[in-house]
């Protein structure tokens, strides 16, 4: 009976999610079509006026990036970025509201102005920048697409997946890479396409597919949801570049700067060794770079030029810590995911995380 109950719950859950999703797509379209929004000065001013940041995050509980715990608190790397932005603007990381979104709904939600920033493990690509009219710059996670299979299939490489059924989420770059990779290698596969990640998870779990493909970080997160994570293995091939980062609407450089530099501030803090714990102490540092960064220089105008308080960086670090701390807490050693820093290590430690000088 336990399984029957769970099924019923699932159904209900999915039903309401579906309804919500359809509704939000329609609202997105309607707002885009009919919303009589007066042209505003910019998102930063709008955000200041309404008193909170509306942040679009992953709606399917992607542990490590955007997930809600049992008490309804949002956690994750993307969530921390949004909290950091709220801290930078208001000096209060709680002044942020989250909109859970599916892969399909995320772009209309941003285009229509329903959200101020999209931080939903979204890949930066040329067409999303140009055609969709968004702006990407900061990359808060360098990812790549991989495959997960059941260990008992005895598969050791993605190239051995000839004829396999592969679960994938629709409307993602993943779906496109999958088709391209298998064509390039002349391998047949049967896609099983779901709109919601949770539906794809359930289908993979039920054995509808032999393999599951999404960004490697997502695979680690989904693996943890399986009854016995050790029965599943992530294959070594990474078939694509997936730079994941926050997106904002185009032609809004002030807001774009605030969003990008919130991430860069976290990276800079890690570089300087400034942590959530020692930030107050570091304010007294004699190092001019650190003093400038933390707004302790007498005539510093960096914060003001961004339209932010002078101590914006301090507020970010106090709220969410530096990038390394956020990484460890959400996806790294301090989390169940235990993902290595890899490409996401600092540039001077062999990774790609690099921030422009803050001066």
């Amino acid at each position: 009976m336990v399984s029957a109950d769970r099924t019923a719950n699932n159904d209900k859950d999915k039903g309401s999610k579906m309804a919500k999703k359809i509704l939000s797509t329609l609202i997105g379209a309607a707002v885009l079509g009919l919303g009589a929004q007066a042209a505003s000065a910019g998102t930063l001013d709008d955000v200041k006026a309404k008193g909170f940041v509306q942040c679009g995050v992953n709606g399917s509980n992607l542990a490590g990036f955007g997930a809600q715990d049992s008490t309804g608190n949002w956690t994750g790397l993307d969530v921390d970025l949004c909290k950091g932005i709220a801290a930078a603007v208001f000096g209060d990381a709680t002044k942020v509201k989250f909109t859970p979104l599916s892969a399909k709904d995320r772009f209309p939600a941003l285009q229509s102005g329903e959200i101020d920033i999209l931080a939903r493990n979204t890949t930066w690509s040329a067409s999303r920048d140009s055609q969709l009219g968004f702006d990407f710059r900061a990359i808060n996670y360098y990812d790549g697409q991989g495959f997960m299979v059941r260990k008992d299939l005895g598969v050791n490489s993605a190239l051995e997946l000839n004829g396999a059924s592969i679960c994938v989420q629709s409307g993602t770059t993943t779906e496109l890479n999958l088709a391209d990779y298998f064509r390039a290698n002349n391998i047949e596969f049967k896609p099983v396409v779901f709109e919601q990640q949770s539906e794809a998870d359930a289908a993979y779990k039920a054995g509808r597919c032999d393999a599951y493909t999404t960004d490697a970080s997502g695979l680690y997160s989904i693996r943890l949801k399986m009854d016995n994570p050790d029965d599943h293995v992530v294959l070594p091939e990474i078939i694509s570049k997936e730079p994941l980062g926050p997106a904002v609407r185009g032609n809004d450089s002030k807001w774009f700067d605030v969003v990008s530099f919130t991430h860069y501030a976290m990276v800079t803090a890690e570089e300087f060794g400034i942590t959530q714990a020692n930030v107050e102490e570091m304010k007294k540092s004699e190092n001019p770079d650190i003093k400038r960064f933390l707004g302790e220089e007498a005539d510093s105008t960096i914060g003001a030029d961004f339209g932010l308080p002078k101590d914006w960086a301090v507020q970010i670090i106090k709220a969410v810590g530096n990038y390394g701390e956020a990484f460890d807490r959400n996806v790294g050693e301090g989390s169940p995911l235990k993902i290595q820093r890899g490409l996401n290590a600092l540039w001077n430690k062999g990774g790609l995380q690099y921030a422009p000088p803050i001066r």
Partner: protein
């Protein structure tokens, strides 16, 4: 006299009445105002769309349909590769929508008819079972029914690995059912097989002619020739004889275990099975009620008269009651067909590549929300209107012809 004068708009007897109270003017005024509001709303919406698109750096237009799709579609009944265009992908989705709607409507009609008649049965058990069926399916949201079947299909059927094991044990089987779908042999038509099809068509035409002849003869002489037997022979014998004479030009491609899935043969995916079952059984419960209402709507005297003439109850139902009930049944039946077609868009929940699922992917890959939603609306309206037109024609044909 007084009454007509009161309505005289140009009447000189009561010049004090304001123009606002003039009925003729009012009638025109209401229409002008309504029209003006509609035009203003459309204009407002259109300019807003253009403004908002410009603000978001987007352009409107359908040119994007010619770009490369790049994604694969799980169930393509017409040829499709990721190198095809978005437009082709939409066609694939449309075909999938039409296929599931078509089979759903046929099955729902048959099941609904049987259950509807069953509810009126004198057999206590059958009547109660049919009532239970109707009350169960009619009162569940269709999405839940779809999930029920999908999860049921996935949970109950053997996995691909288990199926491979079964095949090892019984190598003679040619039909397979697993949670990857239902597999059956695919026919390979040899040379000259088209002649068999022509023979079948000729046989059917001959059978229809014979049926018409049989009816005429019955009307004229009161004797009915053995129409059923002759027609069966007319339909079955010519193609079978042609087939044998040509040396049986037909072979089968059997499904065999591949690396991960069955290879070859024909297959129907669990997504289609779940959606098809859910839509058919859900809509059938409504059709059953419509059928029951239609039959109840035929006065009891008709049945009694049929019995008095010595007709058996099955004949009384088929020849007397149902033809009259059809007039009551068809109009609401059309609504149920339209509902089924529209509900097929819930396919997106179980990953069946219908119009909405494929369109949603295109929407996300291209960012053209307004265009895609417009295409969805246009296509669904077209399918529904076509169905309505057909049903209206059918209704007119079934309507009571008064002489």
């Amino acid at each position: 006299m007084a009454a007509t004068d009161a309505h005289d708009p140009g009447g000189t007897e009561r010049p004090s009445v304001s123009l606002i109270y003039n009925p003729a003017l009012r009638r025109v005024l209401y229409q002008v105002v309504t029209l003006a509001i509609i035009i203003w709303a459309v204009y407002f919406a259109a300019t807003n769309v253009i403004q908002n698109l410009a603000r978001a750096n987007m352009t409107a237009g359908f040119g994007f349909l010619n770009s490369r799709a790049g994604f694969d579609v799980a169930q393509a009944l017409i040829s499709y590769t990721p190198d095809d265009t978005f437009f082709r992908a939409l066609q694939v989705g449309l075909v999938n929508t039409l296929v599931v709607s078509f089979w759903g409507i046929i099955t729902a009609t048959i099941v609904g008819l049987l259950v509807g008649i069953g509810r009126l049965s004198n057999n206590w058990l059958i009547a109660r079972l049919c009532t239970a069926y109707v009350e169960l399916f009619r009162n569940l949201p269709p999405l839940l029914v779809i999930f029920f079947w999908y999860l049921g299909v996935l949970a109950l059927l053997p996995t691909a690995r288990e199926l491979f094991q079964t095949i090892k044990d019984n190598p003679d089987k040619i039909f397979f059912l697993s949670n990857r779908g239902f597999y059956m042999p695919a026919p390979i038509f040899g040379e000259g097989f088209s002649l068999v099809v022509y023979a079948l068509i000729a046989g059917i035409v001959a059978a229809i002619c014979f049926a018409i002849y049989g009816n005429r003869r019955q009307l004229a002489t009161g004797q009915r020739p053995p129409v059923l037997l002759v027609n069966l022979a007319l339909i079955i014998l010519p193609p079978v004889l042609t087939f044998v004479a040509l040396g049986m030009p037909l072979s089968f491609d059997y499904a065999i275990p591949g690396n991960f899935n069955m290879r070859g043969g024909m297959s129907v995916g669990p997504e289609f099975i779940a959606l098809y079952l859910a839509l058919s059984l859900y809509t059938a419960s409504f059709i059953a009620e419509i059928v029951r209402g239609g039959i109840r709507g035929v006065s009891r005297g008709q049945t009694e008269a049929a019995f008095a003439l010595g007709l058996r109850s099955s004949h009384a139902m088929r020849l007397v009651v149902l033809p009259q009930a059809m007039r009551i049944i068809i109009p609401p039946l059309t609504s149920q067909y339209l509902n089924l077609i529209k509900n097929s868009s819930l396919a997106v929940a179980v990953g069946y590549a219908d119009l909405v699922a494929v369109g949603g992917t295109i929407l996300n890959q291209s960012g053209r929300s307004i265009e895609i939603i417009a295409i969805w609306m246009l296509i669904y309206v077209s399918i529904s209107l076509t169905t309505s037109l057909f049903m209206n024609w059918f209704n007119a044909k079934m309507a009571l012809v008064e002489r």
